[in-house]
Subunit: 461 residues, 2 copies
């Protein structure tokens, strides 16, 4: 894009937004990167719209000028999704952060895209309802929808794809559409809601979301449980899933990760062997029944050392520690950077895939703690590297690549929940085959000028 | 399409399929209509492929000749979906009816599109697993995916959108793609699986489905329960949903429908007042707990006369009677035809929408029993008409139209589960607004020759 064009775009946007269009260097810098270890790129300007109509005006201007547009939530994505690789305008939705409706009778809420998951749950507290999808970060709901995020309790309550009922979206040409309704199901026409969930800002900007809520469970029990080896822990999970045990959370942490947990959480004091972190939701009797069934599986697989967190504050501390697993992993090697993988395979392939993964980690000579939402077949490595050491960076990237190829070999996907961004683009042709070309066809049809988050997700000729 | 073109198409297809391309009049007649009360239209020929590769060859030939193609399962759709309004080739998938994989460890199965829901459950019986989506008819899974079908236990286990993990699809040009994988979740790219689920054969032909399975419940309890009026029954349902009671089925039948049930099922003998038909799944203790909670709600709302079906054969008889509600409704007026509506509204709007619906039925002077999957906010009228009576037909259509407009007024959809076909097309612009144009954009991008089920779902200029 030429300087003249970008200047004309910025001038037009300033007429609409006034001070809420920023070209200040600290603002540009903040919007040049996310949590991924990627090269930052500055946008030309950052817009802070407050309404859908403003988003629509921004996109009208940008589409007229052919100016790239990158939607931005809180910048907690993990694959460089919001890096404006072709410059242009970043649209920061943080001022669109109102909870518009809480429909207690329908178990849904209508929110603006800048509302974060913690914010929504705080607003819900008095109602006895909760929003369930919980990635590690306090992400914005718009960003979570755009990346099809999930989290620790997806095994019970689903991903963003399962929890978004309807969207309002501004298309690249500025047109405003609504997808879906607050009815729980519909068979009228193409499922546009699911098309935009996971589209990573490449098809339009989400300006409103209707999300499902659930009743807070009557009774909750959380626990940690130790295993002699990782295979026993994984086999326990596989059997629990097959038995249909409705676990609310079932997280695997390997012996390497547990070492990091003890460093980062000095009062945790758990043995440095593979662990499952668990949570059960239900009536008091229902939870007792689940716990009993699960405990007998654990015993069969040589697990032991159940530690129950019965008080709310103990449970919160447990799950906060799990959500901070990234930082705990990094504590194993102070000053390092982390490359994160996000494989997800069919549950029957999980034990085999993890065993092969551990082999390639050992061959690499690198430290790479493993944590996983194993009830979904999803697990992460945090590959620790010294970014100044070029040889080590090469080895780390090679390891990540080997692990991603293993996920595909085992019939899975290179990303269970983080998304594609910049980091996973190179795998999409391999993962999707001929279907990847269809994705490009859809992109061209909806965004013919290729202004929405260009350079991400699909390759256009 | 000119006669020369269709003859050339048929000749080319006969080279591929031999006897499995039929132009016999009884075969053409069978494929000219579904269960809807619409004007039949004959296809020019019917193809019976046995493999994905044959489907691909058929679509290559048809796209070269610009010949319309209509995918066909068992013809149990309810809105004229499979009527070949522009003639051409109907692709009947009934010979693609193999269950290819049952992955017990992963709770999924891979099937060809002609497999029916009853067939799959029979093949699953020995495994202790079940496939849950249960429309009234013994529909094909390909057809159920194409119409985004659901059924009586969707309130607990979801619609086809929730139960299809992955698809193999042949695109209009004959290209074969795979959408999704057997991994339980993925964040890599546009959600093509959900795009094809509900696309009603307008974007391609589904040639393989990976569907989710569940464990058969350890314990099941089913019951019928009578209410003094429809509002009390609906309010009971709304509260049960809000409490998060995990009912497996909760069906409303109004006093008119109950009269038909007693005629059609002479040994049923239930009072002719509004009823709920219920089912609970879980452990023995879990079911007892659900039943207790539900019974106290029923008592609060003046419900009574619980009748439990504890033996498997009694439960099967109960649900078979519910699945035959269409025929029971028609028994109220022998020789009549039925126009079926399929509204779905947010649960909080259900009581209001049904009350208004009952008013417009009364004003119409017609008989229209009401049944509903009320846990989803979805209910059907069966408007009984003498098709020879033009005035009555007009009134019936006017009533259906009023009821559909009420669904939109209450924030819902004109089809919860039957789909669009021919019957609901006229509502889509109203229901989806600007999003309807985006659906046409997608159709044009994927099927630029408009050969796939033309004249359905979207309007192309």
């Amino acid at each position: 894009m030429s300087n003249t064009h970008i200047e004309a775009t910025i001038a037009a946007l300033r007429d609409i937004l006034g001070d809420r269009l920023s070209t200040g260097s600290s603002i540009l810098d903040q919007h040049s990167h996310d949590e991924a270890y990627t090269t930052p790129v500055l946008p030309d300007a950052v817009a802070f719209p407050e309404t859908t109509e403003e988003v629509s005006l921004i996109l009208k201007v940008c589409s007229q000028h052919g100016c790239p547009v990158v939607p931005y939530g809180v910048g907690s994505s993990l694959e460089g999704h919001i890096v404006p690789v072709q410059g242009g305008i970043t649209v920061d939705t943080s001022r669109m952060n109102r909870v518009l409706q809480i429909n207690e009778s329908d178990l849904d809420a209508v929110v603006e895209p800048g509302v974060t998951r913690v914010q929504l749950n705080e607003e819900l507290r008095a109602t006895g309802l909760m929003f369930t999808v919980d990635p590690g970060a306090d992400a914005s709901l718009g960003g979570m929808a755009a990346t099809r995020a999930s989290g620790t309790n997806t095994v019970r309550y689903g991903t963003m794809a399962d929890n978004v009922l309807a969207l309002e979206v501004v298309l690249p040409d500025g047109q405003i559409i609504e997808t879906g309704s607050r009815a729980r199901k519909s068979s009228t026409g193409y499922d546009l809601t699911h098309l935009f969930v996971g589209s990573e800002g490449t098809l339009g900007i989400i300006t409103k979301l209707t999300v499902k809520l659930r009743g807070q469970p009557e009774h909750v029990a959380a626990a940690t449980c130790a295993f002699p080896d990782i295979a026993s822990a994984v086999d326990t999970v596989i059997l629990a899933i097959q038995m249909g045990l409705p676990m609310a959370r079932i997280e695997l942490l390997d012996e390497v990760q547990m070492k990091g947990m003890n460093i980062y959480n000095p009062d945790m004091g758990l043995p440095e062997v593979p662990h499952l972190f668990l949570e059960f939701h239900g009536s008091e009797a229902g939870v007792a029944e689940q716990v009993e069934s699960f405990a007998s599986l654990v015993e069969e697989h040589g697990g032991s050392d159940f530690k129950w967190a019965t008080r709310t504050e103990d449970r919160n501390r447990l799950w906060q520690a799990r959500h901070n697993a990234y930082y705990a992993g990094k504590a194993l090697r102070p000053g390092c950077e982390g490359l994160v993988t996000d494989c997800c395979v069919p549950i029957s392939a999980l034990a085999g895939c993890i065993a092969r993964t551990k082999e390639v980690i050992a061959q690499s000579g690198l430290i790479a703690p493993l944590v996983g939402h194993v009830g979904d077949g999803n697990f992460h490595l945090l590959i620790l590297v010294d970014p100044e050491n070029a040889d080590e960076m090469e080895r780390a990237k090679a390891l990540a690549n080997q692990v991603n190829m293993l996920a595909l070999e085992f019939g899975g996907t290179v990303s269970g929940e983080h998304g594609v961004g910049l980091g996973k683009r190179k795998y999409l042709a391999e993962e999707h085959g001929a279907a990847y070309a269809l994705m490009a066809t859809l992109k061209k049809a909806i965004d013919p000028g290729n202004i929405m988050n260009p350079g991400k997700l699909v390759t256009l000729n």
